[in-house]
Symmetry: C2
């Protein structure tokens, strides 16, 4: 009998893999070790729990441990930490409470996720200073807001989490300041999108401190201010959320001689396999191939994790399935605005990948001028000058930003700007102008490439 399929980590990648493997091959034993107590939860929903749009933290849990055990026949063990992978014996060493044991595996999936990066800020250990990575932290932030009733908040980092948390805390009547070291927020979205979002954040009362490096957090037991580098006065903050990015959890893999890729995450092939053919990696700890550059990329987002996990589940059950590529597609809500991006927007990154990027930014309405309720979308579209291949896009506006999916699909199919422009997209006045904003952007970029 084959040794079990063992999964390290019970979140998106791990539980998707376990579920799929068990469904496709019910006779195979599937064991999941999760060191914490939460499994299969929607991390992306946490800011909305803090905001109050989601009533209970449990609502973010797609499926309970009991359901996995009872309905899916998965041997899911929470409170079990895998402390080493012993590739020679094909076992993992598992610690739980005071005990340790060895668990043999036939196939192994590393789904250890990522952790919030914690820069060496002074006073990080004061009460009221949080990162937002797991459910326990979401819970703690919500309780702190509820019991301490902070009047001011500082958010360190102007990425998605920072912006979503700015919205969440503003909803509680808290005055929010975002500190961003770089000259703009939302790096992966490009300058055009970021500028619009920044204007909107300011309109909503968020104080945006760009090019401002945080030094530490002052106060007593609890934080009361943020200290910044330079001569600036400390900025009052009764609560601080640090969201400056995540780093893949690769220690366990590295210690076992599993190879990392150029991004620092675990290197995998098209089936999610590492350099050991019995060991897979998926989710926020692993790389995936970028569909535009063809190079390994680290995009710690939910869909990538779910999909790779599911594919690996199918593969270990005997039906090899590719984990799919990433376009780095992402979308974020910033108060009333949506901002979406896909592919390669950054000119320098495009050049490193061998492209000569040309870009346009257009404003276009979501509906014809005569139909009520039109709002404006700003679309930035980037293509390679010579091949005219589409490289990336961003879309910002109050409605209709899911149109980014059209460009993401075009990236997967390596379409040129002319091919994008010639797509037969849906039109009727309540839904779109005749030329959808994506088509208009393609039309304008096509003109620029010719001219």
């Amino acid at each position: 009998m084959t040794d079990p399929f063992v999964v390290i980590g019970g979140d998106a990648a791990g539980m998707s893999a376990a579920s799929k493997a068990k469904r496709d091959d019910p006779s195979r034993e599937v064991i999941v070790f999760e060191k914490g107590s939460w499994v299969s939860y929607a991390a992306c929903g946490m800011p909305y729990y803090v905001k109050g749009s989601v009533d209970e933290l449990d609502d973010l849990v797609a499926m309970t441990p009991e359901t996995f055990r009872e309905e899916r026949d998965i041997d899911l063990r929470t409170g079990h930490e895998v402390v080493s992978i012993n590739r020679g014996e094909q076992t993992v060493t598992v610690a739980t409470g005071d005990e340790q044991f060895e668990q043999p595996y036939g196939d192994l999936l590393i789904g250890t996720g990522a952790q919030a990066i914690v820069p060496p800020f002074d006073g990080f250990d004061r009460d009221g200073v949080f990162t937002l990575r797991g459910m326990d932290e979401a819970d703690a932030i919500e309780r702190y807001v509820d019991t301490q009733e902070p009047a001011t908040a500082a958010i360190v980092g102007g990425g998605y989490v920072g912006i979503e948390m700015a919205e969440a805390l503003t909803e509680h009547g808290i005055d929010v300041t975002i500190f961003e070291m770089l000259p703009r927020t939302l790096q992966p979205f490009g300058e055009e999108a970021a500028r619009i979002v920044e204007g909107h954040l300011r309109d909503q009362g968020v104080d945006l401190q760009l090019e401002t490096a945080v030094q530490g957090f002052s106060g007593g037991e609890a934080v009361d201010a943020v200290e910044v580098e330079g001569d600036e006065d400390p900025v009052p903050a009764d609560i601080v959320i640090v969201g400056v990015g995540v780093a893949p959890n690769v220690e366990l893999a590295e210690d076992a001689g599993i190879e990392l890729g150029p991004t620092g995450a675990i290197a995998t092939d098209e089936f999610g396999r590492t350099n050991d053919e019995s060991v897979y990696a998926a989710g926020d700890c692993a790389e995936a191939t970028n569909v535009v550059t063809g190079e390994p990329d680290h995009v710690p987002l939910a869909l990538t994790a779910n999909r790779a996990g599911r594919a690996i589940g199918a593969t270990v059950a005997g039906e090899p399935a590719q984990i799919g590529k990433t376009a780095g597609t992402a979308i974020v809500k910033a108060f009333e605005l949506g901002a979406a991006r896909t592919g390669v927007l950054d000119a320098e990154r495009a050049r490193e990948a061998g492209f000569d990027p040309v870009s346009v930014t257009i404003d276009a309405p979501t509906r014809p001028h005569y139909y009520p309720g039109a709002t404006e979308l700003t679309v930035t579209l980037v293509a390679d000058r010579e091949s005219e291949r589409v490289l990336g896009a961003s879309i910002v506006g109050r409605k209709g930003t899911k149109r980014i999916d059209t460009v993401a699909t075009a990236l997967h199919a390596s379409l040129t700007v002319t091919e994008l422009q010639n797509l037969d997209l849906a039109y009727a006045p309540p839904f779109s102008p005749v030329w959808d904003p994506v088509l208009t952007a393609a039309k304008v970029l096509s003109g620029k490439l010719e001219g």
Copy 2:
């Protein structure tokens, strides 16, 4: 000096071609003959004018004749009807008022559009019986509703126009009955989509008479009832809208020996050229190549017309541009619902094109279960069994039906179901579940193809 670029018909295809040709080659004379008085108007907006969402009929005009003449330097002549094309001499005969003259052309574009099909109904000439094809008809319907205050309306034909007009007239407090000869409405949208729309129409108080053939319209000077075949009693109707489809206006072309295609519309090549290399055809009178079947198709929709016109304008200005293919992508609002479709949904049509269609229909939310405001989408996805190539889709729901564009893009790129399933689409709780409904449909269809 080159003879002028002459355009017959001043609507979407014609004015797009004229504008693009003049922009790309300002020295070339461009003449447009339009037999009516309206140019470049949004026919798709007319039901919303009748509904009252659009204040003035003029709001539907994208650009006035004066603007075309003065700002774009196009010799646009309304009230000028081309009565024959004389290919030997490369001239058209133009009638205006009591006069006729010959106009030489270097290149000619036939953009004569389509006309409403008028079945031989008794009493079609009674007051209060309308088709909805042009702006004058939209105007007449609106005035009739305003002055005659009909209490009951009959709509003959359950296509887009019928459904949009049902919504428009219901808005005026009129009791609406739709008569459809076939067993269901919205033929091109497939049974799954049509059934949901039909349920919703009934919920909104529309009386839906399927498999009911209309015989004629009774009354005095004005219509007061619809007579149906069989033993049924006449159905009261103070106003009647007949929307049973359109037929391409091909007489002028046919008389000049321009070839028609298998659909009965004018046959064209990838540049919109007819069998005469100086003569192009575009818009509702012309065929385009279906992206799924590779066969000529007749899809009289606005984007196809605009795009083909624009490409032909570029081509006659010296820079050949392809008119693009059609996926038959369409979207329609039916009260609170949107319904969208693309590609080949009909099993029989798929089989005729050499495919072995397999289809699934799934329900999926537009947002994760825990995020407020989710509504349900019903997605039908069709693929070929052997090649697993995606053939078509429909999407119905209250929000998010523009997701059809993702599938339309997949059709243009000939993606397989697995490739569709592996698209990196945008996810964040306010915008989508982790697996977008399109991906979920692909996942389920993929399982069915394997199973």
